[in-house]
Symmetry: C2
Subunit: 193 residues, 2 copies
């Protein structure tokens, strides 16, 4: 008989535990930042014992790296899915505007976590491959509609717009976003001699 009232045991075979821990880690990062993320907080969020983390992962660094990898994959899928119905450049402008303006795709919290990833990758070369892959994916999606150079610029613009929108306390008018996006995908202007 399980000791229901005493110290909890049980829940032995829990094959999805690893992934649940990784998801919990992302939640904790979203709420407390990488700086405030600890084994104990993750364990509490995933509802697993503390020792389970050291059992499944060699250390906190490796746990975070795998959590970020999982996040990048999820973001990539959501990113690609967001542009699924787009057919032409006008549709692209609208879709990008939607994404930046917030009426689509991942929640604001998920973007915040991706910035945690960026900053962590800036200091930890082991995370570079994750950001590199995520950027390659997003650019590849955009390249379905525009040439590679334009995609690169548009990708950077999206990044910057998202960041500004997150940091800004005043609203970011949709028309301004649309205007900036439209110019980014328009043919380049004439260059004076």
């Amino acid at each position: 008989m399980r000791t229901e009232g005493g110290t909890r045991r049980a829940r032995r075979f829990d094959p999805e535990r690893r992934q649940r821990i990784l998801d919990a880690a992302i939640e904790v990062i979203a709420e407390h930042g990488v700086a405030g993320t600890t084994h104990r907080l993750i364990a509490a969020a995933a509802d697993v014992p503390l020792g389970s983390l050291t059992y499944h992962f060699a250390g906190l660094d490796q746990l975070l790296a795998q959590a970020f990898t999982r996040l990048a994959e999820r973001l990539s899928r959501a990113y690609a899915a967001h542009f699924d119905g787009v057919r032409d450049r006008d549709g692209l402008v609208e879709a990008v505007t939607d994404m930046v303006h917030g009426n689509a795709g991942a929640a604001a919290g998920e973007w915040a976590v991706s910035y945690e990833l960026y900053l962590a990758a800036l200091r930890d070369p082991a995370l570079r491959s994750v950001t590199e892959e995520w950027m390659r994916t997003s650019r590849t999606v955009l390249e379905r509609f525009v040439d590679p150079d334009t995609a690169r610029g548009l990708d950077a613009l999206i990044e910057g717009l998202l960041m500004h929108r997150m940091l800004s306390t005043t609203p970011f008018p949709r028309e301004i976003i649309r205007g900036a996006v439209a110019r980014a995908v328009a043919p380049p202007p004439e260059r004076p001699a």
Copy 2:
């Protein structure tokens, strides 16, 4: 006689100590990130005793907030100075391209610290006023050359380009940067009905 060989005392009147501590804090953030920034590291970098930090600042949070404020002021001055000689839109494109491409303005490390500030501000409302002021300043500089809406988009583009360049391991061709910037400041394209 000073106890040169024993435990160091002296250096009582040191009126610039506060600012030196703040500068040291920025250095430590640049090297270790906000997460890895501690009283002890800052004290070592500034060459002051540990107790000096708790004497001059009420807590680590307030110290970091003041350090970030100082950084933002420095960045604002550098930003404005970078566009001092710009006369027309072509010059603007060139100046922005220079800044993003790295041949100008603040060192790469300083930009990294500004991203630490952004992320910290995302979680700490007390830092919002710092980022708000810094963004207002940079946009105001750009508004000397383009209309406010365009300035807003250009500002976001610069942010995104800088971030991508910092994270990218492969080089960011100057021509791509210039192309993206040129489109951002060009008149908006016709919009189909």
